[in-house]
């Protein structure tokens, strides 16, 4: 167990190292920190002096070590635009994005598991055919189009839901303000959550259905039938666990994709999260903020993937965790 954990953590650190190198390379090549600091009306000598003082003439390794050291202490530079520590800017935006991801995950898990199971158990029923037909349409509509369509129908035409922003949020702790405490907050988060879930949900329905159908053909399910086990127990105890094992792995990968989709969803709904912020930062060439976003998102990816791997190892008895570390 310990060896497995250690191996995972070492790999995570290695990936973070590569990300930090990329981030550092971006920082060094994107924009001129001097110009942001003092403008262009400074003589060349003074500029050189400032460069020396800021360590911009140091060797690559020295500069990187300084960058990494600062990053480890939570110092990812100061946003040119907000004039605030970049990490703070992101952390303020993070809860909005996380709540959106949470809402979408609820929708995905809540619907994909029952729909996937149903379509696998009754593959020929009319309802299953409708679900499968809709699912292929679903994976063919890009997230941003779903978002636009929903705004057009539910906000512009019917006016049932607000079309942008977070609405009323309630402060919980630190930078964390939640949408889930007020009715207005709920109204605001529903459409973006559905939009974010829209392409992933059919993907998972299809995945769960395919895995479940494969499992239902397996010898051990046939054997369970031959033992006279109740069909519900066969579906939910014998088949479901085996179905969900590969789904967990894919799910881990999809969390990353979901963060990417938040950028699209947040842009359409002007949701004040880090995806929206990132695009603004790109347009303003706010290098520290871009770099900080890269590192934070990389960190989220690495952490979720490591956690998913660990969960998989714990849930799947055939993965011998102790041996996998070796």
């Amino acid at each position: 167990m310990f060896a497995y954990l250690a191996k995972r953590v070492i790999q995570a650190i290695a990936v973070m190292f590569v990300i930090s190198l990329i981030a550092f390379a971006i920082q060094g090549n994107l924009g001129d920190p001097l110009r942001e600091l003092v403008g262009q009306s400074v003589s060349e000598e003074v500029r050189q002096q400032l460069r020396d003082e800021m360590g911009l003439n140091d060797s690559f390794v020295t500069q990187y070590l300084r960058f990494a050291g600062n990053a480890l202490q939570g110092d990812l530079g100061t946003s040119y635009f907000f004039k605030e520590p970049a990490l703070d800017v992101i952390l303020k935006k993070l809860p909005a994005t996380l709540e959106l991801v949470f809402g979408a995950t609820l929708i995905i898990v809540g619907f994909s598991v029952p729909l996937g199971i149903y379509t696998a158990i009754k593959p020929d029923s009319i309802l299953s055919r409708i679900i499968m037909g809709l699912s292929i349409v679903g994976i063919s509509i890009p997230v941003f189009l779903t978002a636009i369509l929903m705004i057009f129908v539910f906000s512009v035409e019917y006016g049932w839901f607000p079309s942008y922003g977070r609405g009323d949020t309630v402060h919980v702790w630190g930078y964390w303000e939640t949408n889930f405490a007020t009715a207005d907050g709920w109204m605001h988060i529903i459409l973006p959550s559905i939009a974010l879930a829209s392409i992933m949900l059919p993907l998972f329905v299809r995945l769960i259905r395919a895995e479940m159908m494969e499992v239902l053909q397996s010898e051990y399910v046939k054997y369970a039938k031959a033992k006279g086990i109740n069909p519900w127990r066969i579906y939910f105890v014998h088949a479901l666990k085996n179905t969900l094992l590969p789904v967990i792995t894919v799910g881990g990968v999809q969390i990353g994709t979901m963060v990417a989709y938040t950028i699209l969803t947040e842009t359409v709904f002007q949701w004040p999260g880090m995806g929206f912020m990132f695009l603004e930062a790109v347009n303003r060439v706010d290098t520290p903020l871009i770099v900080a976003y890269l590192i934070v998102v990389g960190f989220i990816f690495v952490v979720t993937n490591t956690i998913v791997d660990l969960i998989y190892g714990l849930v799947n008895p055939t993965v011998n965790i102790a041996r996998m570390g070796a």
Partner: protein, 316 residues
């Protein structure tokens, strides 16, 4: 007896061989596949013939008049007869712009997948054939690459590139950047599947005998092993083209892809989005429908192909 009858017609052409094969049979039996194929071919044909079909050239500023902007499609009152699908916010004929835009979307999608396939197949063949450390290193890389979403990598790469080179230079090479980033990011899909086939085929006798006959590894891989991974490659490629088109559209929508002056479907939708509240829904809706139909028929074809070929696809 003339020579014509001696040269028998019973020798089937390659085309009729495909038509009469198992695949051809199931294709004819499946109305959804036939319809999807027809729609796909229509879209592909129309878009590649865009310069011939389109009544206007959306890239030619001389043909664009800003005064013509936001005319609705022909079936809505207030339309102009010369603009069948209406005009966009810059006064371009929407029908022409969509034709050119679809051409760009398809081109980027297909080229990006070709690049993915080339990288993935090469890496997969090498990893599977050489094995050992190189194999585990490459597959580890594939795992890590896969754990980062393509779209995320593409967004960050394009955002940084755009910020670095400035919008003008970026716009000039946007097509190349898009193909490169979508093409590079998805190689593991192919690499894993090809590698799995190589590992399975390597054990078989014919590979040994080819080796004993003194054929080099390149020849064995390309001539003997690769043909056995064709059906999974086909299935993956279809789905990947659909995904690549969606990725391209998403990136362009975010302003990280094709510029408004040379719009793909995604950038067209994006430019229309600003006008959706003022009632000009068609600038977004019509290209949106084209995009969805295009991706949908490709996905339907992919589904059909997976059912017929039923290859063992690598699962994560």
């Amino acid at each position: 007896m003339s020579t014509e009858t001696l040269n028998p017609k019973s020798e089937p052409s390659r085309w009729s061989k495909i038509w009469n094969s198992n695949m051809g049979y199931s294709f004819r039996r499946n109305p959804v596949a036939v319809l999807s194929m027809i729609v796909f071919l229509l879209i592909a044909l129309a878009s590649f013939l865009a310069p011939v079909i389109a009544p206007y050239d959306p890239y030619d500023p001389a043909q664009i008049d800003i005064m013509n902007s936001e005319y609705p499609p022909a079936w809505v009152s207030g339309s102009l007869p010369e603009f069948v699908l209406g005009t966009d916010d810059q006064g371009r004929d929407l029908w022409s712009t969509i034709l050119y835009g679809t051409r760009l979307s398809l081109l980027i999608g297909i080229c990006a997948v070709a690049l993915q396939a080339f990288l993935g197949i090469s890496i997969g063949l090498i990893a599977g054939y050489v094995g050992g450390r190189l194999d585990s290193l490459l597959m580890r890389l594939a795992d890590i690459q896969l754990s980062f979403s393509t779209l995320m990598v593409a967004i960050i790469f394009l955002a940084v590139t755009q910020a670095m080179f400035g919008t003008d230079t970026f716009n000039k090479y946007a097509v190349v950047f898009l193909i490169a980033v979508i093409g590079v990011a998805e190689w593991p899909q192919y690499a894993r599947t090809v590698r799995a086939t190589v590992l399975a085929e390597k054990k078989k006798e014919y590979v040994d005998s080819a080796r004993v006959l003194g054929f080099g590894p390149m020849r064995i891989m390309v001539r003997h092993i690769l043909p056995n991974s064709l059906s999974p490659i086909f299935v993956i490629s279809t789905v990947q083209v659909a995904n690549a088109i969606i990725s391209e559209a998403s990136l362009s929508f975010l302003g990280l892809g094709m510029p408004p002056s040379q719009p793909s479907l995604g950038s067209l939708i994006s430019s229309g989005f600003d006008y959706i509240f003022s009632g000009s829904w068609w600038i977004t809706a019509i290209p949106g429908v084209v995009l969805v139909v295009l991706v949908l028929v490709i996905n339907l074809l992919g589904d059909w192909m997976r059912d017929v070929l039923n290859p063992k696809l690598y699962k994560g």
